[in-house]
């Protein structure tokens, strides 16, 4: 019997479920979110578990804050069976406590560290590569298409950086929009909010032109190095970067 345990799509809910399974000595075949497509062989199990935020301090108590951070990065990755990886990571974490991250010879630890470094790398790249356009009435708008679900981390970053601006970031792939109103940001379904009617500001074109001029000027042609450029700035980011999109 393939027992598939379902959680309510949030990190807290997943941690609560994993904690419950371990406490009751249940070894799951799969753990999945509510979007999971059930197959004939599956036995789907919905447990009624409270979404208790205290689980965070519990996890920190056992495995430490750095391990929790790594677990969160795995959670926002697009890895297929990330839930099971986290289950085995936490199971081992209860045994090795805050030393868990040192056990790189364990498969689950190796995976968690690799995935989390991929995700944090991608988030960091987007902090630099994301481009805002100014729309009429001073609204800033950007689109992204990240592999991992970086939107929350990016919103947090720009909340500090562009705190006296109104801005929106759209994750095109997941169709989620982050809205910031100079106080806090919220994530909403992109369909509930239409931007089609808002045009670019008059200044926008001029600034984009200036930036392209700067970009084309600053490279030294005697040092041209395409491989190096692509290494640091892979093509997957280019689609929304005005200075290179024409080269695609």
């Amino acid at each position: 019997m393939n027992s598939v345990y379902i959680y309510q799509d949030t990190f807290i809910s997943l941690l609560n479920l994993i904690d419950y399974l371990i406490r009751h000595h249940i070894k799951p075949f799969q753990i999945k979110n509510t979007r999971y497509q059930v197959t004939l062989l599956d036995t789907v199990i919905h447990l009624k578990i409270e979404e208790d935020e205290n689980i965070l301090s519990k996890v920190i108590h056992f495995v430490g804050i750095r391990a929790l951070q790594n677990m969160y990065y795995v959670f926002i990755s697009d890895v297929d069976n990330l839930e099971l990886i986290l289950y085995y990571f936490y199971l081992n974490g209860l045994k090795y406590r805050e030393n868990i991250l040192k056990y790189r010879n364990l498969k689950c630890v190796d995976k968690v560290l690799k995935i989390s470094s991929f995700v944090s790398h991608e988030c960091h790249k987007y902090k630099g590569f994301i481009r805002f356009k100014e729309l009429k009435n001073h609204l800033l708008y950007a689109e992204i298409e990240p592999v991992s679900d970086c939107l929350r981390i990016l919103s947090h970053h720009f909340q500090k950086r562009l705190k006296n601006e109104y801005w929106l970031i759209k994750d095109v792939k997941r169709n989620i929009l982050s809205l910031y109103d100079k106080k806090k940001y919220i994530l909403v379904d992109a369909n509930t909010f239409s931007l089609d009617t808002i045009k670019e500001s008059e200044e926008e074109k001029q600034m984009a032109q200036l930036w392209k001029t700067f970009y084309d000027t600053i490279g030294i042609k005697e040092r041209k190095n395409e491989r190096c450029r692509r290494n640091f700035m892979p093509k997957k980011y280019w689609k929304y970067m005005l200075e290179v999109e024409s080269e695609l």
Binding site: H124, G128, K133, N164, M207
Partner: protein, 404 residues
């Protein structure tokens, strides 16, 4: 002249400065826009593969000096431009809002006098910080010969303040930059070092040397760097391969900028700052230049084979750092992991060790990965030289794959 043309001229004149780092500061603005990230953030990469994190421009390319190697020297007949402080603010703020940049890198040719130029820079940065409450990163060049009072004023507004030494020896400077004195640059570095704190130049200072314009050896260059790191607590020394923009009998004619040499100098610079190497470990009077075929760390290992192979599970942190293919990060990983289990070659791969270089110089659990009779300088050297060239080979093979 419109803003676009000015930007083109003044970015073009600024592009030869190598520095673009935006790290080391944790500033944030309480009222306006902007913050800095301690790790620094790259916002784009130019066609030459160098990162763009700051809006790198000159205030003006008008200059009263006549340095032989410089595009902006007085005797060159080129288009000159001058930004107004408001124009610099407008571009910086607009670029920053759109997340094109992490901040501003403002340098300048010397217009009228060092003090006058410095006042112009101060006026611009003051506007950004006080009027627009800009909290992003600002790196400014200090103008040699400007008064200490102005240096103090500028240092309180910026994250990084730097002055370029340009050439490693006094002789080189006399030959190519007769208006520049290294004494004045040293004065700036000394002043910044003595007065640096959380409010004054929080991200520290850096400098730059041109490589290949004069005849200095790598040994002279590295000794100069080591001296400056020690005496002025510099964050970075940047090396910039000489590119001929002027024709002059004092200047060499190079077909290609010496990029490989620049690369070796950077590698050695890292070894000095993070890997506890000394200049004398890498170079000496008999061998005053780096080996172009293998990197300095491999070269060191090849010349000290008696120190190797080192045992991963027992050798000290400093010994780990001496092994080619092991960096700071992987050395720390090894250190923490080997407390809880015995490390094998497979585990090293997982930790990010570059085994194709490291394998010649290590044992895991007293096992050598290769045949022990192969532990000979000639064999290892040949393989490492080959290793350096593999990226080229790979590209070629991939091309062939597509053709088939």
């Amino acid at each position: 002249m419109d803003l676009k043309e000015k930007l083109k001229i003044l970015a073009d004149s600024a592009k030869y400065d190598a520095s673009c780092s935006s790290s080391g500061s944790t500033r944030k603005s309480n009222r306006g826009m902007g913050a800095t990230a301690f790790s620094g953030i790259c916002h784009s990469f130019a066609s030459d593969g160098r990162c763009i994190s700051l809006l790198k421009i000159l205030m003006t390319n008008i200059c009263i000096f006549d340095c032989k190697y410089c595009l902006n020297r007085r005797s060159n007949n080129i288009k000159r431009a001058l930004f107004t402080p408001e124009e610099v603010c407008e571009i910086t703020l607009n670029f920053y809002r759109r997340n094109y940049i992490e901040g501003l890198f403002l340098s300048s040719g010397i217009i009228k006098s060092p003090d006058y130029t410095m006042e112009l820079l101060i006026k611009t940065v003051t506007l950004l910080r006080k009027k627009y409450h800009f909290g992003g990163y600002i790196h400014c060049k200090a103008i040699p010969g400007a008064s200490e009072k102005l240096l103090k004023e500028l240092g309180l507004l910026v994250d990084r303040l730097s002055a370029n030494i340009e050439l490693p020896t006094e002789n080189g400077l006399k030959l190519l930059a007769p208006n520049k004195e290294s004494k004045k640059v040293n004065q700036i570095m000394q002043y910044v070092k003595t007065n640096r704190n959380k409010k004054f130049v929080p991200a520290g200072q850096s400098t730059q040397m041109i490589i290949g314009a004069t005849k200095e050896s790598d040994l002279e260059i590295m000794n100069k760097s080591a001296f400056m790191y020690q005496n002025y607590q510099l964050k970075r020394v940047f090396y910039s391969a000489y590119i001929g923009v002027n024709h002059d009998s004092f200047l060499p004619t190079l077909e290609q900028p010496p990029l490989k040499r620049e690369n070796r100098l950077y590698q050695a610079d890292w070894l000095l700052r993070y890997y506890h190497f000394k200049v004398s470990d890498l170079l000496n009077e008999k061998k005053p230049n780096f080996n172009i075929l293998v990197d300095p760390k491999c070269d060191y290992a090849l010349h000290h084979l008696e120190e190797f192979p080192k045992e991963i599970n027992t050798c000290s942190y400093y010994d780990l750092l001496k092994i080619p293919g092991i960096g700071i990060t992987s050395a720390k990983r090894i250190l923490s992991s080997r407390k809880v289990f015995t490390i094998t070659f497979d585990d090293l791969k997982k930790m990010g060790v570059v085994l194709k270089r490291a394998k010649y110089f290590i044992t895991c659990n007293h096992q050598y990965l290769l045949n022990p009779t192969m532990y000979q300088k000639k064999f290892i050297e040949a393989n490492l030289v080959l290793e350096e060239q593999t990226p080229l080979k790979k590209e070629y093979e991939q091309l062939r794959l597509f053709n088939e």
